[in-house]
């Protein structure tokens, strides 16, 4: 399964990077969200893979670490998700504002001489 996930991460990253290198603000924001998916998955797999081992204690007692998926990366991903959500919103507003102020959706605020 690792191979599938690795591929997934790879493709998400690649398309995200491709998009943030584009000149249009909307492409950049889409690219950023794709990248954040990739990074979230990446963080998660840093705890190695394990299915059907949700880190929720079945009984009210101390758990055995080997029985559960690594909970720490999950916590990190949760934080990361929240933050990327916030920054996406911010960037959205900034790109709207720049579109309004400069009259173009080019990332430099003016059509490049390309």
């Amino acid at each position: 399964m690792e191979i599938v996930l690795a591929l997934a991460i790879g493709v998400l990253t690649a398309s995200g990077v491709w998009l943030i290198l584009r000149p249009r603000t909307f492409q950049v924001i889409i690219g950023l969200s794709l990248l954040s998916y990739a990074v979230n998955l990446f963080i998660l797999v840093m705890g190695r893979l394990s299915s059907n081992a949700a880190p929720i204690l079945p009984i009210r007692a101390a758990g055995d670490p080997t029985q559960f998926a690594d909970p720490l990366p999950q916590a990190l991903v949760l934080t990361a998700i929240v933050i990327s959500f916030a920054t996406t919103a911010l960037f959205l507003v900034v790109l709207l504002a720049s579109r309004g102020l400069t009259g173009t959706d080019h990332v430099d605020g003016r059509e490049s001489e390309r």
Binding site: E2, I3, A6, V11, L21, L49, P65, Q67, L78, A86
Partner: protein, 980 residues
């Protein structure tokens, strides 16, 4: 009785204190300023004089105070014979210049600045002279440059002053930096910056491999300061300064700092061929050049400036000749030149002041108008020319004598006497010109003012100085002898070669040279005179203009070149920056793998799952499609990204991370809503035709490059991920969480316990970020100007409005209402349901998937649904949400729960667990951490709602449809319409 050592610190401190006081006076307080400055200078002079007995027989006065011991830097003042002589010069002439300036400066001049800078300069100069530590010397060295800059630019309303000041500063300060570097190297060689130790270890220095660089750097410092060729040209332009400044800084003291330093360091650096050649040749060229150019000057001060340059060259030659007697003569001439040149500048200033011009061609016959000044000038000029019975004569004799000596017996050395004699002729020539053209001949016509003698006190300084010239010239042994001896001894040590300060040595070769020089000078003057009367400027050298070259170079290097380099090495566009960033990360990530190899991998722990693979095939397809569509079909791209997000969600579930899946889901929803709201303000892109030809090819090339970068980074991250997944896991700290989540955290949902307890601090920060962003979004949208194309009402709505307007039974917006009727009801009904669900998620979060954040976002969506259903106006008229307050309260609550631990004297965020009996639910573990989660909930609700609504509100702003009165009221009291 205070010890004499304390005199030193007093001498140094006085001028600076005086300077600070001087700046405080009123703009027209000319007398007060003069008194203050005069007293300061006089007291300093007296203090210096009082120390004479201590330095008399080679004694050294020292004052040391620790400053930065780690750097071997200390405040160390050191007064020996040489320093004493220079200190007397600085303070004495300083006093006279102050007196002179009192009358020179016009009553309407804002003198506080002037005198303040003047005093500060005096202090800095004393600092150079008294430094016992080379770094400290550099310190004051740069200060003198700074204050000379300020003084030259005193009359900054005219451009010459500004340019002169700038040039002087840049050249001398740059020289100072070189000196700094040189001194640092010296310190590296010797292992200390202490002057005594450096002077003591001359042999080591000269033997060291770094001797030459150090020497060159230090020379650069000294020669720039003393206006030696090829750095001489700043001095004439410094003449834009008020004459007192020229008399003080640019003849007597500042420019002497360079040669002083050379004499100072001669014991350590001198005695090598490099020294002889570098110093002597620079001095010789300057001597000749200065004297030659001076003859052709038409401005009195210009003439004096070039003559100063040439005399400094003479001194430099003496030092460069590298003999003990050379140093003697150098010191002697430093003093003499200071006296006669200062008085000459004062005279020139008087003439300028009284006659209103300094142009030699316009001046003549002033003798009859100002006999006393004329006499003074004549005597001083005679000293300058080296006429017998004047002090200038004595040092010049010594100079000639030195040049006759054999040094390295090269051609130049053999030619030396003839060269200097020839050059001295020009010295005589310009001295003659100064006197005869200005004071004799017919009465001047059309002078701006009718010249007359200046007030007595204005003449007095010049008189005193001239008196010194004469007295020293007549009875050198009695007057200058002893102090000169002490100064010389300070440089040469106890063994001083014999030299005599007699007026008459008999018909020696040097005397002969003097006579030849005088005679020759007279003839040159006679020959040139008619030509000079009409002619302005320089024969044959006129095209070489130091200033112009300097300006051009400075402009090209410091402006044009810099601009080009800036645009070459930098960019102001975003895409290159991101490319560089990604590539840098690639290199950083791949280099170690390349160097060390990725290491062996164990077999995958999980088995291949077809369903999962298929799901991801879809996800991948979506991602690629989104990447392809994002430019023109934004909505499609949005949907595709959403799909990719869903796939991520699913894989979270598969990877046994239910909390993540849940959170991802709600976040996905809200993000999509946000982007949809945003799309409204992003005018549609019209697909333009692909440019062909070079432009098209260029774009294709850019695409290929970006594609390569993208693929590379994708595969890099994939490789890293795969490598980690297939490497055996290390011993991880997370085990502790699994073991203690319940016992110590009181929850069974480990992830949630980590979030609200083990690592609650992260969560606190995370929600803060959310809050900040919400505030920023709101603040930005308050100033939002939507894109012009997007302002008109969207097409669909317009159609509906037309339809409504057409039928008289309906009024605007009815169509929307009717089409939205059913969903509206449903969504309204949903509100409590979602609310309950959110609450449930919040409460159970500690044990099962859920938690404050998910609950918060859910609650927010409930609000948004209301907005969708009933429209902004209705909602805000009916329920008032104050998101900012929610956020604030949430933050206070979360942080407050953490701070509560303080009252139990536990660290911040220490939680406590106990069980509560909730009806129907049973025993619920109640951890204070859950309160924290409630805080999180509140903030998330506030922040999300604020952001969503802030964007939603834009539609109200821009549509021109008249709003019902009630709604405007509602708006005005609704918080996001309020303008703080």
């Amino acid at each position: 009785m205070i010890s004499t050592e304390t005199f030193l610190i007093a001498v140094l401190a006085l001028p600076f204190v005086g300077s600070c006081l001087a700046i405080l006076f009123k703009a027209n307080a000319r007398n007060a300023e003069a008194y203050l400055a005069g007293v300061v200078a006089l007291v300093a002079l007296v203090l210096v004089l009082l120390t004479y007995p201590r330095v008399l027989d080679g004694g050294v006065l020292e004052y040391r105070a620790a400053w930065v011991p780690e750097l071997g830097l200390e405040l160390s003042l050191r007064m020996d014979g040489l320093a004493w002589l220079l200190a007397v010069l600085v303070t004495g002439i300083g006093f006279l210049v102050v007196l002179y300036a009192r009358y020179y400066m016009s009553p309407s001049d804002p003198v506080p600045r002037f005198f303040s800078f003047l005093l500060a300069f005096a202090g800095a100069m004393l600092g150079i002279v008294l430094s016992g530590n080379l770094i400290q010397l550099v310190f004051f060295w740069e200060l003198t440059s700074l204050f000379s800059f300020l003084l030259i630019g005193y009359w900054h309303q005219n451009a010459q002053a500004r340019d002169g000041a700038r040039m002087a500063l840049i050249i001398t300060a740059a020289g100072g930096l070189c000196l700094f570097a040189g001194v640092l190297i010296l310190g590296h060689i010797v292992g200390s910056y202490d002057l005594d130790r450096i002077l003591a270890s001359g042999a080591t220095i000269r033997a060291h491999s770094l001797y030459l660089p150090a020497l060159i750097l230090i020379l650069l410092g000294a020669l720039t300061k003393s206006a030696q060729f090829p750095f001489h040209f700043w001095l004439p332009h410094a003449m834009a300064a008020p004459t007192p400044v020229s008399a003080y800084l640019h003849s007597a003291t500042l420019v002497k700092a360079g040669v002083f330093l050379l004499v100072r360091l001669w014991p350590a650096l001198g005695g090598t061929n490099e020294w002889l050649w570098l110093v002597a040749s620079a001095g010789l060229i300057t001597f000749i050049l200065g004297a030659f150019i001076a003859v052709f000057q038409q401005d009195l001060k210009g003439l004096l400036a070039y003559s100063t340059i040439s005399h400094l060259g003479l001194i430099t030659v003496l030092i460069g000749l590298d003999t003990p007697l050379g140093q003697v003569a150098a010191i002697f001439h430093i003093v003499n030149h200071a006296t006669f040149k200062a008085s000459l500048f004062m005279a020139a200033g008087i003439i300028d002041h009284e006659a209103g011009t300094r142009d030699i061609r316009r001046l003549s016959g002033l003798w009859r108008f100002m006999p006393i000044t004329a006499t003074l000038a004549m005597v001083a000029a005679a000293a300058m020319a080296g006429v017998p019975l004047m002090n200038g004569f004595l040092s010049k004799e010594m100079f000639f004598a030195e040049t006759i000596e054999i040094h390295d017996n090269s051609i130049v050395d053999q030619m030396l006497p003839y060269i200097v004699t020839a050059a001295s002729m020009f010295t005589v020539a310009y001295s003659l010109r100064f006197i005869l053209d200005v004071f004799f001949g017919p009465d001047p016509e059309r002078l701006p003012r009718r010249p007359a003698e200046p007030p007595f006190l204005m003449r007095l300084p010049a008189e005193l100085l001239v008196l010194i010239c004469v007295v020293v010239g007549m009875a050198p042994a009695l007057t200058i002898g002893p102090p000169l001896a002490t100064a010389v001894r300070a440089v040469l040590g106890p063994v001083v070669p014999p030299y005599s300060l007699a007026v008459w040595h008999g018909f020696t070769p040097e005397f002969l040279m003097s006579l030849v020089a005088i005679a020759g000078g007279a003839t040159i003057y006679v020959l040139l005179r008619p030509y000079l009367r009409v002619y302005s400027g320089l024969p044959l050298l006129q095209h070489i203009n130091g200033q112009r070259i300097f300006d051009r170079v400075l402009l090209v290097v410091s402006w044009r070149l810099a601009r080009r380099l800036e645009s070459l090495l930098g960019t102001r566009r975003l895409q290159p920056q991101l490319q560089i960033l990604v590539c840098a990360a690639l290199v950083a990530g791949l280099a170690p793998l390349y160097v060390r190899g990725i290491g062996p991998t164990v077999s995958p722990q999980t088995t291949f799952d077809l369903v999962f693979a298929v799901i991801w095939a879809v996800g991948i397809a979506c991602a690629l499609a989104a990447a392809y569509q994002a430019k023109f079909h934004r909505l499609a791209a949005l949907m595709l990204v959403g799909a990719a997000g869903l796939v991520t969600c699913i894989s979270f579930v598969w990877l046994s991370a239910p909390d993540l899946a849940l959170t991802q889901l709600v976040v996905e929803t809200v993000t999509t809503v946000l982007l949809l709201l945003g799309l409204r303000w992003l005018p549609k892109r019209i697909q333009e035709s692909r440019p062909n030809g070079t432009g098209g090819r260029l774009i294709r090339w850019y695409r290929v490059r970006d594609f390569a970068i993208a693929v590379a980074s994708g595969s890099c991250l994939a490789a890293l991920a795969y490598a980690i997944m297939t490497h055996p896991p290390p011993e991880r700290i997370s085990g502790y969480f699994v073991e203690n989540a319940y016992n110590k955290g009181g929850g069974t949902n480990i992830v949630n316990v980590i979030l609200v307890d083990f690592r609650a601090f992260d969560t606190l920060g995370e929600i803060t970020v959310l809050g900040i962003v919400a505030l920023t979004v709101f603040a930005l949208l308050r100033r939002f100007r939507p894109a012009a194309e997007s302002i008109p009402v969207p097409g669909q709505q317009r159609v509906q409005d037309l339809f409504d307007d057409a039928s008289e039974t309906r009024q605007r917006g009815d169509t929307v209402k009717s089409t939205m009727a059913v969903p509206a009801v449903m969504m309204t009904a949903l509100f409590p349901v979602i609310g309950i669900a959110a609450l449930y998620l919040l409460l159970r979060g500690h044990d099962l998937p859920g938690g404050g954040f998910v609950a918060g976002v859910m609650m927010a969506t409930a609000f948004i649904l209301q907005y969708m259903a009933r429209g902004t106006i209705w909602v805000e008229a009916h329920l008032r949400v104050l998101p900012v307050r929610w956020m604030g309260t949430g933050l206070v609550m979360a942080a407050g729960v953490g701070a509560a631990a303080w009252f139990f004297n536990r660290p911040f965020l220490t939680s406590s667990v106990r069980y509560l009996d909730v009806p129907w639910v049973g025993a619920v573990p109640f951890a204070s951490a859950m309160l924290f989660d409630v805080g999180v909930f509140a903030l998330v609700v506030g922040a999300t709602v604020l952001m969503l609504i802030a964007i939603a509100h834009q539609s109200l702003r821009s549509t021109r449809t008249p709003r019902p009165v009630s709604s405007t009221v509602a708006l005005d009291e609704s918080p996001w319409a309020k303008v703080p």
